[in-house]
Amino acid sequence: MYEFLDDFLFSYQSLIYALGINGLLALSMYVVLAIGQLSLGQAAFMGLGAYTSALLTLKLGAPFPLVLLASMAVPAVAALIIGAPTLRLSGVYLALATIGLGEVLRIAFVNSELTGGALGLSGIPEKAGYTLIFSCLALALIAFVLVSRSRIGRAMEAMREDEIAAGMLGVHLPRYRLSALVVSAMLAGLAGALNAHVSSFISPNDYGFDAAVTILSYALLGGIGSPFGPVVGAIILTLLPEVLRPLHDFRLVFNGLIIVIAVLFMPHGLAPWRIRRTGARA
């Protein structure tokens, strides 16, 4: 019995890892969408986290906990730099700036010797595993649920519904926008570091436009009424290409189609559920 489980886990190892990693990425997309903004920097932040962690491990042999912290801090700083000026501007600026960030980082990673250029970095030791990845995901989910059912969660949904009305109730719009962006960056960076340390190999192609839009498709499929929605979306879109072989080759086409269909026909995503926003019995 245990042998079967072992074999099963071994063959599907990278798939199971992917479920956890993509779940974290979906949450990083969720936090920004939950306040009504659009950031496409998740893939870029993931790349920053991945490269930061890989370099710290490979070149400095830094202790892993420190590596993880750094992989969250570096994207957070990047988020501050490109996010701060857009706080009082229309949401379009943030969206464009984050797309631009992805492109620029890709160029930087490809052209830099430090990051191994187009070939990326390999030989990254395996320092993460199921426990770590899924604990991070679980903790993140719990944190989001706790925050959703509170004053902060109410402010976030209010902003998403009607930013002007929310401002008129005292919600400090710029602060919430920046915080959401920084949290999003940190989560994505963490996902990148964890991924790097189970995949042993990273390259600039993993963090480009395709990845950014794919992450969006997770959130839109699952729906953003609750933090569970995007995670469910990630699980479905990660498993589906494995189960349906033809889908595998057209995975990206499918993800793009999902986004189009979701925006045009299912603004609430697959899941009609919505998390309640009170922290005590109402």
């Binding site: 925050v147 004053r151 519904e161 008129m168 719009l173 922290g279």
Partner: protein, 266 residues
């Protein structure tokens, strides 16, 4: 002038070449209902937007409780006690009635990130207290039974009440109410008048924009009249309704002349 809860001094805002609000000055006394009326396009909603922090004036000042608030963003004004309802109702449709009112209390409910994540007793106490207060407010506006309903599903009149409840939840000293009676039938309007009078009794100062003259005349202690962005008259309801320039603004010059010549104003 001293002790006025709100004062506009020579407020001017221009869009392109047109002055939507042109050198308007008036002040609102605390614990009164102050009406802001005028024909369509007179600049009333623009003035409201400026007072609540949406948009930037070209000239003049806005003083709230004696402090100049020109540069304050809307959330800061809200935190200091200025609330507002909107002409086209802007409740948070996806959230429940209770959550809408709780959202209104944003500036006053405790619970930072740490307490929220760790679910400290201080957080739970703050939430329970907030919910209790929200229930009171819902009772006050007559929506106690609807607290778990999705706000977007409420009938129009109730959504208006919810918006007022939400604004009231922010514990305002001054509430800007923008055309509350729009789209309401006579009985809804009557209960709305009752609600606003009870608000006034509770100590909230109201600055009211409305077209329904019955509404205005019954509620307001003092009225400012705008036309083409300028203030053309000011005074008590009785004074304003018989002011020739007001009549002219609403009904046109011919009617005003005929009225002066002896016809009655009803």
């Amino acid at each position: 002038m001293n002790g006025a809860i709100l004062a506009l001094e020579n407020l001017t805002v221009r869009f392109g070449g047109l002055a939507a609000v042109d050198g308007v000055s008036f002040h609102v006394e605390p614990q009164t209902v102050h009406g802001l009326i005028g024909p369509n396009g007179a600049g009333k909603t623009t003035a409201f937007n400026l007072i609540s922090g949406l948009g930037h004036q070209n000239d003049g000042h806005i003083l709230f409780n004696g402090e100049t608030i020109d540069d304050w963003p809307s959330w800061e004004r809200a935190q200091r006690g200025l609330a507002r309802t909107f002409q086209n109702i802007r409740t948070f449709g996806e959230m429940t009635v209770m959550e809408n009112v709780l959202a209104g209390m944003h500036a006053h409910v405790g619970g930072g990130l740490g307490a929220t994540l760790l679910r400290l007793p201080s957080f739970r106490a703050a939430e329970s207290a907030a919910i209790g207060k929200a229930r009171d407010i819902l009772g006050f506006v007559g929506l106690a039974d609807a607290s778990a309903r999705r706000a977007g599903n409420l009938p129009y009149g109730d959504q208006r009440r919810l918006e007022i409840a939400r604004a009231l939840a922010s514990d305002p000293k001054l509430m800007l109410v923008d055309e509350p009676a729009a789209g309401m039938n006579p009985s809804e309007t009557a209960s709305l008048i009752d609600l606003l009078l009870r608000l006034k009794a509770r100590g909230v100062t109201l600055l009211l924009v409305e077209h329904d003259m019955h509404f205005i005349m019954n509620l307001c202690d003092h009225i400012t009249v705008l036309n083409f962005g300028r203030k053309i008259a000011e005074g008590t309801p009785v004074e304003v309704r018989s002011d020739p320039s007001v009549i002219e603004a609403y009904l046109g010059t011919k009617v005003a002349e005929r009225l002066e010549a002896g016809a009655r104003v009803r």
